[in-house]
C-alpha cells in the first residue's frame, strides 16, 4: 500500500476549493497512491496566507472543517490530521480533541506559529501521546533565515527527547536534509518525512543509512509540489525494494495502525 503522509487540502490563502482536492486525489491515483494524509494549515486570510499572521481559533477551526469535508468526500482515501495554532493553548487543545474524538482524525499537524520547543506546545503533545496519534511538525533549517515561530530540526530533537513516548513526523526532513537527519539521528521517536524541497539525489539514501528505513516516511506536500518530484526521491533512490516499501507506506501504516 502506498500512502502519502503529507498533503494539504489547499495551498495559499482562501478557502479550499473542492476541485483542487479532486485534482490532487485523481493525480495521486495515477501514481497508485492509495491513501493521503491531509491537513489544512492555511487560513482564510486573502492576500496574506497563513504566513501573514497566526490563525486565531475561528480560523483554524474553519481550516479543519475543510479537512472534514475532504474526509467525507473520500472516506477510503483521506486520513485527516488536525491543525491548530499552539499560541492558543486552550482553544487549540479543545479543537484537537474535537477533531480526534468527533471526526476521527488520526494526527496533529503543527506549522509555523510557535516553535515546537516552546512549552506552549507541551499540552498538545501530551494529548497526542494520550490519543496515540503522531504529530506532524513543520520544520526547516533555512540558510535564508526562519520565520518567527518556525521550528528548526534542533527544536524537534529537543521536543522528542523531552517526550520520548511521542511519535513525531518531522516534515521535509528538516528542509536542509543533511542538517535535519543528523539533528534527529539519536531520537528514535522522530520519523522524517520526505515531503517538499527538491528531488536531490542522496537525500533518502542518507536518511536510510543514518536512521534506518523504518524511520523514513514518504510525503509529497501536494498540491504545492508535484507527485513526480516527490516520488522520485524514494523511487529513484539506490536502496533495496523492502526499504522502499517501508518508506512508501509500511512505516506510516504501522504508526497510524492501519489494517
Amino acid at each position: 500500500m502506498r500512502i502519502d503522509a503529507h498533503t494539504h487540502s489547499h495551498v495559499g490563502s482562501g478557502r479550499m476549493k473542492l476541485e483542487d482536492l479532486v485534482e490532487t486525489v485523481e493525480t495521486a491515483k495515477k501514481f497508485k497512491i492509495d491513501k493521503l494524509c491531509v491537513s489544512n494549515p492555511f487560513i482564510d486570510n486573502p492576500g496574506e496566507g497563513f504566513r501573514g499572521g497566526f490563525p486565531n481559533p475561528e480560523q483554524f477551526r474553519q481550516a479543519n472543517e475543510n479537512v472534514v469535508n475532504a474526509m467525507k468526500k473520500y472516506p477510503k482515501i483521506i486520513i485527516g490530521y488536525c491543525y491548530v495554532n499552539p499560541c492558543y493553548p486552550k482553544e487549540g487543545l479543545d479543537e484537537f480533541k474535537r477533531c480526534v474524538q468527533e471526526y476521527g482524525m488520526k494526527g496533529l499537524k503543527l506549522e509555523v506559529g510557535c516553535r515546537c520547543s516552546n512549552p506552549q506546545v507541551y499540552p498538545l503533545i501530551e494529548k497526542a501521546i494520550e490519543f496515540k496519534v503522531p504529530i506532524l511538525q513543520h520544520c526547516w533549517h533555512k540558510a535564508t533565515g526562519n520565520y518567527i515561530g518556525e521550528s528548526d530540526p534542533l527544536d524537534v530533537a529537543e521536543l522528542a527527547k523531552r517526550y520520548k513516548e511521542a511519535t513525531i513526523q518531522m516534515a521535509h526532513t528538516g528542509g536542509d536534509w543533511e542538517y535535519g537527519i543528523k539533528a534527529v539521528r539519536d531520537c528514535p521517536n522522530v520519523f522524517p518525512d520526505t515531503s517538499g524541497g527538491e528531488p536531490v539525489i542522496g537525500m533518502v539514501e542518507m536518511a536510510v543509512k543514518e536512521l534506518g528505513a523504518e524511520r523514513v516516511i514518504f510525503g509529497s506536500d501536494a498540491p504545492g509540489r508535484s507527485f513526480s518530484t516527490q516520488l522520485a526521491k524514494v523511487l529513484g533512490a539506490d536502496i533495496r525494494k523492502e526499504e522502499k516499501d517501508l518508506i512508501m507506506g509500511g512505516n506510516i501504516a504501522r504508526i497510524l495502525k492501519l489494517e
Partner: protein, 256 residues
Amino acid sequence: MIIDVNIASGNWPFRKLKYRNISQLMNLMDKVSIDKCCISSLNNVFYKDIQVGNEDLYKEVKEHSKRFISFGVINPSFPGWQEDFESSYNKLGIKGIKLYPNYHQYDLKYGGILTLLKKTTEYKLQVLIQIRIEDERCHHWLTKVPPVSTADISFVIEKFPELKIILGGIKLGEVKKLRSIIKENDFVFVETSWIDSLNGIDKLVKMVGISKILFGTNMPFFYPQSNLSKVQIENHLPKEDKEKILYKNAQKLLSL
C-alpha cells in the same frame, strides 16, 4: 528519444555527488533511457579559470559525441573571457554557452556580458542562463547566492531578440512573471527541471505554449525520474506534445 538540455559534470564543493563524471552520468542516463544531454562543466561554477573546466569536459565527452552536446561556461567578468569564448567555439566545438551570472557575480545589464551575448547571437549559439542551482534555503553558509532576477532576464530577452535563450533552473512563479515576453519571443525557451507543482507541466504549457518547453533534469543534483515523470505521466498532454517536450523542440532548436 529523450534529449535533456541541462546537465553538468564535475564536483560540488559542499557535498560528494554520486554522479560526478561522464562515466557515472552515462550509467544514470542509460538507467532512465535518456539518449542525449547538453552538458557543461560543474567545476566551472567555482573555477576562476573556466577554460580549464571547459577543456577537461571536452576531453571527457569527445569519445561520446553521440550522447553529449557541449556547452561552454563563460564568465564575462573575468579577464580573457573573449579568448576563452573563441577557443571554446573554434577548438572545443561548443553548441552553446552556459552562464551562472549570480555565482560569477556579474550583472546581465552591463559590461562584457553584452559583448558576449552579441557574439553568441552572431555565432548562432544557444545561451543557457542558469537561474539557480540549489534551493536558496539550503545553501551552504559560505555561498548564499540569490536567483537571477526576472528583471535581468527580461532585459536580455528584449536587448537580444535574435538570441536563442534557454532559461534553466527557473520556477513556475518566475515563468509566470515572464510569460508574456517568453511567448512573444520566438527564441526563448524554458527548461523543466525546477517546475514543481501538481500537474505543473500543464500549467507551464498554458503559460508559454508547448513549443517553448524543453526537457531538463538538472543532473547531477536531481533524480532524472522526477522530470521524466512530470512529462510522461503527471499532465494531461497528448502524446505528440509530450514528444515535443522530451526531444522534438530540442532537436529543432539545436538543429540535430
